[in-house]
Symmetry: C2
Subunit: 497 residues, 2 copies
Amino acid sequence: MLEAAEIGRTQSRKTYESRLPALRVDLLNAQFDLREASFPVILLVAGDDWIGCNELINVLHEWMDARFLQTNAFGRPSEEERERPRFWRYWRTLPGRGEVGLFVSAWPENAIADRLRKKEGKAGFERRLDHISRFEETLVAEGALLLKFWLHLPKKELQKRLARARKKPNEHWRVGAVDGSIFENWDRFMPLAERLLSRTSTGAAPWHVVESTDERYRNLTVAETILRALRERLATADEREAPQVTVSATPEDVARRSSPSDGVLARADLASRVSGEVYERTLARGQRRLRKLSERARRKGVSSVLVFEGWDAAGKGGTIRRLTGALDAIDYRTIPITAPCPEEQAHHYLWRFWRHLPRAGRMLIFDRSWYGRVLVERVEGFASRDAWQRAYAEIRDFEEQIVEHGIPLAKFWLHIDPETQLERFRARESTPYKKYKITDDDYRNRDRRDDYVVAVEEMIARTGTEAAPWVVVPANDKKSARLQVLDVVCQTLEKAL
Amino acid sequence: MLEAAEIGRTQSRKTYESRLPALRVDLLNAQFDLREASFPVILLVAGDDWIGCNELINVLHEWMDARFLQTNAFGRPSEEERERPRFWRYWRTLPGRGEVGLFVSAWPENAIADRLRKKEGKAGFERRLDHISRFEETLVAEGALLLKFWLHLPKKELQKRLARARKKPNEHWRVGAVDGSIFENWDRFMPLAERLLSRTSTGAAPWHVVESTDERYRNLTVAETILRALRERLATADEREAPQVTVSATPEDVARRSSPSDGVLARADLASRVSGEVYERTLARGQRRLRKLSERARRKGVSSVLVFEGWDAAGKGGTIRRLTGALDAIDYRTIPITAPCPEEQAHHYLWRFWRHLPRAGRMLIFDRSWYGRVLVERVEGFASRDAWQRAYAEIRDFEEQIVEHGIPLAKFWLHIDPETQLERFRARESTPYKKYKITDDDYRNRDRRDDYVVAVEEMIARTGTEAAPWVVVPANDKKSARLQVLDVVCQTLEKAL
């Protein structure tokens, strides 16, 4: 793949200078139009030509409007980055819609470098490539324009460059340790680069391999590729953004819906009850146990993630407070998921969850979560059919990265029957300070319970994995629900500690 | 101060339960109104009653709408936090307008803890209190509602609590190591707490000391104080937000304006020129020098901050690119300051600069900066007279914290005369890809040059400190300007390394 690119392409100074003014105007205009568009642009610059990559970044800053171009480079991960799954550092720097993010020394080089330094085994490297592909695919699927450039310098050119630098170090001071190291490790580096390029060159996110011997050719090729792709995308953006109406019932849906009585929800034993006295005693014991575990987790730097989903008025808030009542404020954070703020809306739907992932030793509690995509967004048609169907795999991948990083993850569905729900709605309405918790939406959701049952059943079936299983909690009796959750949380921590 | 609060206040269960429903509704309503208001609420919970602080946080989460309440707790600083000035961790978690941020184990406790552990000397502790006051003052001055609660438990109560826990550890499992440590260190802890309370209790941000022996009294007192302050502020918010028109010329302004020929700008030698040959040679040498310095800075973890201000078309962008051309993309970041995005607008005007502060070993380059407040915002009347006058001290404090942290800071004013500026505007208009850089605003700004000269002179006079001096760079000749900047940047790094 790389040798095939070594065809010695050059661009004469004359052609270069004649094409440049128009190209720069066009690039600026396209970037200007992008500001109004609803997709982000991710430019990934990688390669074996270290100097070329850095020069190219400067050129792009000169040719594009630097005010709306953010460069992200990734060296040794910081402590905060090491405390999170590997891709956290990339997620948190992703550009929002209308923005351009320039990524250099990013996920491709980081994967190769870790393999070269034997931080990553053969199988680990393959898994890494897999994560890269899925990461890039979900970005593209959610609308990002992702352009990947690999700058390749033939070995003999690199050799010449190093020789020149040895002879006249004062003239060729840009040549440095990285170039020498690539040359020396050429035979190990290249096969890894080739493997990475072939494994992560997908239809959605192909690599553009650019020979960088001649900088004029390199600059023009990259800039023209960006311009072409950006224009094409801007021209078709309107079609893509057309709201994709969800067909509210497909034959499979109907088939599924006809048998909600077989599902895991129907099998939940809603009759379980616990007495006040047993509750108080067991709760205190559970909280004590949780506190000790949280202290150990803090010392050992083990974080955890808890996800609470469930019917409206199922008692998520109260259950969560029974957990946090045992903890120090410093050891946990509750993230109530509401409608996304503008900054969140401008990003991939998983971005706002990625950014919250906790530091080592902390517990992160989501009161509703990324499952909104396959629940409310599916049922209400806020997400297209494509989008929510894709979400199962995206969510599995997200959770897999959390668990692989050593962060235990527990997911709860708090289950109540429609009658109990109605009672609680009524009770809320007659309690002044709970009134705000009940809106017309809640009644509308209640009317669509059958649709939600289908969505919940499918969610549990398709995202309940061994590493991140769902726990359906019968919650008609709040007390027994709280005790069960407390118990599962403690077990989850015990297993991880 | 603290003993005076030990008056054994309690609240009967009956009164408590009778007042609670109305209080909770009122709190929710006030919080709801806040969502539409244009100020943030910062609730600082501190104290010698560790358990009380944590309980109070849970209570506030229950009583207020937890979806719009973010708790921030601060333990041992992370590596990323240690790489920045001390207050960076607080700045980056500040709530935006309409939001409530709950801070616990925050700046007061951190200051006392560092002093107790002798991480901070006596003088250092005093400086810290000074920073705290100024931090709180600038938040309040910019519109934040800051409420500070110190929960105080009399020593004999703490002793009882510890005794109970020793007797029945299973019932009183919340009592832990922190409580014991406060008791043992009481005689060292209390004077520090008293000192902190008296030094940082200002008119703008007074402390509310609340005895927390009786939790009902504690909960009610805190919640009612929050409610009262929030309501009061909501009621007067409209007046505060009335645009404060800047009187465009006060007598002092006129006096100052009459003598711009005496200023530092007038003294800049705009005639300096450098030949193309000398330029090329000196530039290459300077870039080589900068590269070596940046490599050393990376190894030694020394960051730096460069600020570029100057007339429109003075050549900031080109000068910056001559610096970055010598660097690896990973070693620097350029932040072009444009109009703030909605998230930035929702925060203190310094927030967006604080959040960018670089990791160890990186160079951060601001293309325009926080000086916008005392330049364009002053001249155009976007900031009230109060606001921009206050800004000089706020900026000095901000820069002082950067420099104190060991981050060298260099500030450049690129100076050109009006004729050169006009020539460059014209040239830009006739260069297709530079046209976007020139707007009617530029001509308007040019017409107000005299006003800007007054603002620039005052800015240089009032924010040019020994630690962070201004360098006025004659820039009629772009080449000599670039060489001078390159030289100053290298000198700045050399001094710091």
